[in-house]
Each structure stands twice: as C-alpha cells, then as structure tokens.
C-alpha cells in the first residue's frame, strides 16, 4: 500500500458515495461476518450480501459445486434464512462493524422483490439494493427475469418505485442473453441507478466416473477467471452503448473472475465504476483488500489522479 493513499478512489452509485470501488460479489462473502476474520468489512467499498429471498430457503441438494479450468460451477439454489432473520440478525452486525451493505434480493415474482425492498426501508447500513434478476420467473415458466427486457424492466421498476429513494437500486444482469445491451437499456429505463454485471454463465460438468452430471442441480453457474473475457466484453459493450447515447449513463459494477488489481483495472478501463470480487475470495479470503491495494498502486503507476479518470478509459 502506498503512503497516504495518494489518490481519490471514491466512486458514486446513485446517491451513495463509496470510499473505494472494491466490493464483494453476492454469494461469495456470505453476510460479511465470516470474512471479517480476514479483513475489516469497512475497509472495502461495500459488502454485497448473498441474495436474500422473502422466506428461508434450503437451497439445492449437494453436490453443489464443481471445479472447472480456471473457474467453478455452483448450484447453491439461493440457500438463506429469509429476509426477516437477515434484517434482524445479519444486517445489524455489519452495520455495527462499520460496513456498508448492498443487499442482494431476489424472488420468483415481482411482488417478492417489492416486499423485500419494502422490508429493507430504514434497515441499518444499507447503501444499495442489488436486484438479482438472474433468477427464475415463476410466471414465465421459470425463465429467468434477466433473459427478457420486459420482465427485467418490470422488476427494476417495481423495486425502484418502492425502495427508499436515498438507496440506489442496481440491476444484476446475466450474460446468457443474445444482447446484454437490450437488457441493460430496459433496466436503466426502469430506473436502475446502476448495473451489476455479470452473473454466472450457465454451465455444467459430467463426472466421467459416475457418467452423470456432477451437480445435483444438473446445471450451475460458471464463474472465476475463466469467464473474465466475457464479463469485460459485457461491461465494455454496455458502457459503449451509454457513450453512444443508446441509454442513459449509470455506473456499472463490473465482476467476473477478478483475481488481481490489474484485473480490476481492466473492468474499470472497460467502463466499470466499481468492481466485485467473487470466486477468487474462495481462493484467497483476503483478496478484496489485496485487490484494492493493487488497484490503487496500478492507478497511481499509470498517472491517474483519481479512480474516476480511469473509468472507461479504453474507449478513448
């Protein structure tokens, strides 16, 4: 870490100003508590919590994961305690520790999202809501919301309408679509204050011994450095569409295989205003602070006076 920091790393998402751009990716940091053994939650920009649903959920059967080349597959199935336990038990812990929390929410119906956003009003330490629309839409034969501009719009619009106006709403996008720009535009039109991308890619593995799918859930989400080129492309495409005037310009939280400060820089140059570290936390539980330090050093080495100056630089 450089003496005095020497660079302004603050980044804005809607009305929230984060002290720095490094966050944890949803589902890769629990609710913040476990990682506090490795670093102070307040040291990073924000903790994005595991996606929370209205009621307790068992999640899927095991096996829930498979290692793949430079990546992994997971099919956790959104195991969690439900919003009530979360608001009463987990959120206050993080807030007391000085952490900024972006709460990831999901449901099978638009109403679920609305109920969750309502419940979060006035909850301590919440600096953002990330609507995980990469989850199945019960009304639409289980097709995920994020696969369709209209259903994406509906969720984001409803969440934006009901959420605390001071709390920015982020839409978390899936890369498994023909045109991510179309989905991004729909979300921004619906009022999203920011876009988080990308969620995992749908993948699977077959065990050569049992000759059956490795995951109990058959398919799962692919993440890790393997997917980074896809993630950078998504961020770059959407930022380019914003620069082109195809949609309003909102901050992008970039993620997908970030392992080092230079990986984080790649996302920022592509157009991200903040980044999330996900799978790499499993490899290196203290990686968010390491990546923050490396990113700071990389920005300084390249002569940037602030984080902001580097955002989208690759488009110039």
């Amino acid at each position: 870490m450089l003496p005095g920091g020497g660079i302004d790393l603050a980044t804005r998402i809607g009305s929230t100003l984060l002290p720095n751009p490094v966050t944890t990716a949803s589902g890769c940091a629990g609710y913040g508590k476990e990682l506090a053994k490795f670093f102070e939650p307040a040291a990073i920009g924000a903790v994005v919590t595991k996606t929370i649903m209205p009621y307790p959920r068992s999640g899927r059967a095991t096996p829930r994961m498979a290692e793949t080349p430079s990546g992994m597959l997971n099919s956790i199935g959104l195991q969690g305690p439900g919003i009530d336990a979360f608001v009463e038990r987990d959120l206050p812990w993080l807030a007391a520790r000085g952490g900024r929390t972006i709460v990831s929410i999901a449901g099978g119906h638009v109403d679920d999202f609305v109920a969750l956003a309502e419940r979060l009003k006035g909850a301590p330490g919440v600096v953002g809501i990330e609507a995980n629309i990469s989850c199945p839409n019960v009304a639409n034969r289980g097709q995920v919301f994020a696969c369709n501009p209209a259903t994406s719009y509906d969720v984001i619009r409803a969440v934006r309408d009901v959420a605390d106006p001071q709390v920015p709403v982020l839409a978390k996008l899936s890369p498994d679509v023909t045109s991510i720009v179309d989905i991004a535009r729909a979300c921004v039109e619906a009022g999203a204050d920011g876009l988080s991308m990308i969620n995992t890619l749908l993948g699977m593995a077959i065990d050569p011994d049992t000759m059956k799918p490795v995951l109990a859930g058959i398919t799962g989400g692919l993440s890790g450095p393997a997917v980074r080129p896809v993630a950078v492309r998504c961020v770059y495409q959407v930022h380019a569409a914003m620069l082109d005037g195809q949609m309003a310009q909102v901050p992008i939280v970039g993620m997908g295989g970030i392992r080092t400060g230079l990986d984080a820089l790649e996302f920022i140059l592509a157009g991200a205003a903040a980044v999330s570290v996900g799978t790499v936390i499993f490899n290196d539980p203290s990686s968010p602070v390491r990546i923050l330090d490396e990113l700071r050093a990389a920005l300084i080495a390249r002569g940037f006076g602030s984080l902001e100056a580097a955002i989208g630089y690759a488009h110039r």
């Binding site: 059967a61 095991t62 829930r64 997971n74 195991q79 790499v280």
Partner: protein, 283 residues
C-alpha cells in the same frame, strides 16, 4: 472458534507414508491455534493456477515450538497430484486452522477412535489429549488395503488397544471397522467414539456407537469451495438443538459433528422437513 491465519508456508518436510504423502509445513502463527479436528485449506499453485479452489486436509500434527503443522494426504486427483510434486523449500499458501474441532471430553473418559484410511490423521493428537486428561483410548483403524492404513504405529505408541481391519484382509481383520467395533466398545466400556472417514463409515459407526449408548463425534469430508463459511457448497442436513433440521456448513459448523445429529441418509437430497425446503418448490 480459533481465528484462522492465511500464510505462505514453506515445506520443511516431505515423506511417503504407505499409500500417502506426509508434508510438514512451516506456517508461522498457526500451530499454536490448532485443536484436534481442525483442518487446513491449501491453495494449488499461484495466481496463474487453473485450480482455483483450495484443498482441505485434516491437520495431523501441530508443533507450536517448530511453528509447523503437517498433513497426510492421498493423491486423489488433479490438485493433490500437484501437491505431491512439491519439494522441500517450495512454498504453498495455507489458511488454518479452520472448522469446528472435535469436542474434548474435559474429564477422564474411555474413548474409541475409529478411522478409515487417512481419516486417522487427526486422531493421534486427539487421543494423546484424552490420555493426558486421564482418559483411556482404543483404536479401530481400517482401510481397503494394508498400504492404505495410516498411523497404526502411532496408535500403538499410545495404547495397546489397537484393532486393524482391511477390506482385503491384507492386514488385521478382514472387513470393515464396524465388524470388530461393537466388541471393542463393550470391552473398553466406551463413553465416546470419535470417527473420521468416508460418509458410509461414519453413518455405520454412529449407529453402532448409539446402540452402545456411547456419544459419537464424526469428522465429515464434504466438497468445499471456500472452507471459510461463505459459499454454502459444503452443507449437510443436521438436526439443530431446537429439533429443526437445516443445511449447515461442514466447513464452519463442522467438519466435526455429533454423529447422531447428522441425517446421514438424507445427504445429497432435500429432505421435505429441512428448513426452507418449502421455498424450493416454486423454482
């Protein structure tokens, strides 16, 4: 729970151990925190490695004076194949101690240590603690073949009561550990059984121990992505103190569980009565 440390550990010792490898790691600050049943998560390669996930190993021995911990491992796949290539002087990144260790009785008891293969690794340090606390121990060590047994000599150094089984009869009694186990439990009037090995064995040992009114603690081996409690890949259905079954994380709430609380038959399914199962119906 002991606070884990993440350190770059130097390999200071390496030796074959039957079908296994034993690695001694100099890992500053860790050894003093280790209790029997803790595990260490070892990274495979550095920042350019294609294997992202750490591998979990029971800590076999911890020597606070030498600042070393050691592990005994089988070459089971890609990651352990890489680990087996490491030489003295190389270094690996480790996170330890992790997990909930075996509960120590805290009073003199008659304990039986049951293990399959390298599952015996954490048992010797545990047995020594029990003996030091005034208790007595017996061992039932099993494996598929003689060379897949680990630490029979270490067990014999602690107690005379060591029974060995192999599936193929190449050493000791032919068959599973559960063959001689009832007799051993009766003979030593066991208060508590500690077990480590494959799921099927733990289930069977739990049954036998329960039938003998002995308490039973089992160390499970579930696939783990993070090892530190954040990913939810390592869950098992376990009955809570409130009687409610939940999917709990074997990396933080385990790997050492009260065997009678684990719903062995339901592992790999979503039992209808597990907390939150209802919410899964929708999607």
């Amino acid at each position: 729970m002991a606070l884990p440390l993440q350190v770059q550990a130097e390999i200071v010792g390496r030796e074959p151990a039957g079908a296994y490898h034993r690695l001694v790691l100099r890992a500053p600050g860790i050894a003093a925190r280790v209790e029997p049943g803790h595990f260490v998560a070892v990274a495979i390669g550095g920042v350019d490695s294609a294997m992202l996930l750490r591998r979990a190993f029971s800590i076999h021995r911890a020597d606070p004076a030498a600042e070393t911990i050691d592990v005994v491992f089988a070459e089971a796949g890609r990651g352990t194949r890489e680990l087996a290539r490491l030489r003295v002087g190389d270094s690996v990144n480790v996170v330890a101690p992790l997990g909930t260790p075996f509960p120590l009785p805290g009073e003199p008891v008659s304990a039986v240590m049951v293990a399959g293969g390298y599952g015996s690794a954490p048992m010797f340090a545990l047995a020594e603690r029990i003996v030091a606390d005034g208790g007595s121990v017996a061992f039932v060590l099993g494996a598929a073949t003689a060379e897949r047994l680990y630490g029979v000599d270490q067990a014999q150094a602690i107690t005379e009561d060591v029974v060995v089984t192999t599936d193929d009869g190449s050493e000791g009694v032919r068959g599973f550990v559960t063959g001689p186990l009832p007799e051993v439990l009766t003979a030593v009037e066991a208060d508590v059984v500690y077990a480590c090995g494959p799921m099927g064995m733990l289930r069977a040992v739990t049954e036998v121990a329960s039938a003998h009114d002995a308490r039973v603690f089992t160390a499970v081996e579930e696939s783990m992505a993070c090892g530190v409690g954040v990913c939810m890949t390592c869950v098992l259905p376990v009955v809570g103190d409130d009687g409610v079954s939940r999917f709990v994380r074997s990396c933080v709430d385990g790997p050492c569980f009260d065997g009678t609380k684990v719903r062995w038959d339901d592992a790999g399914t979503i039992p209808a009565d597990i907390e939150g199962a209802a919410a899964m119906g929708a999607h």
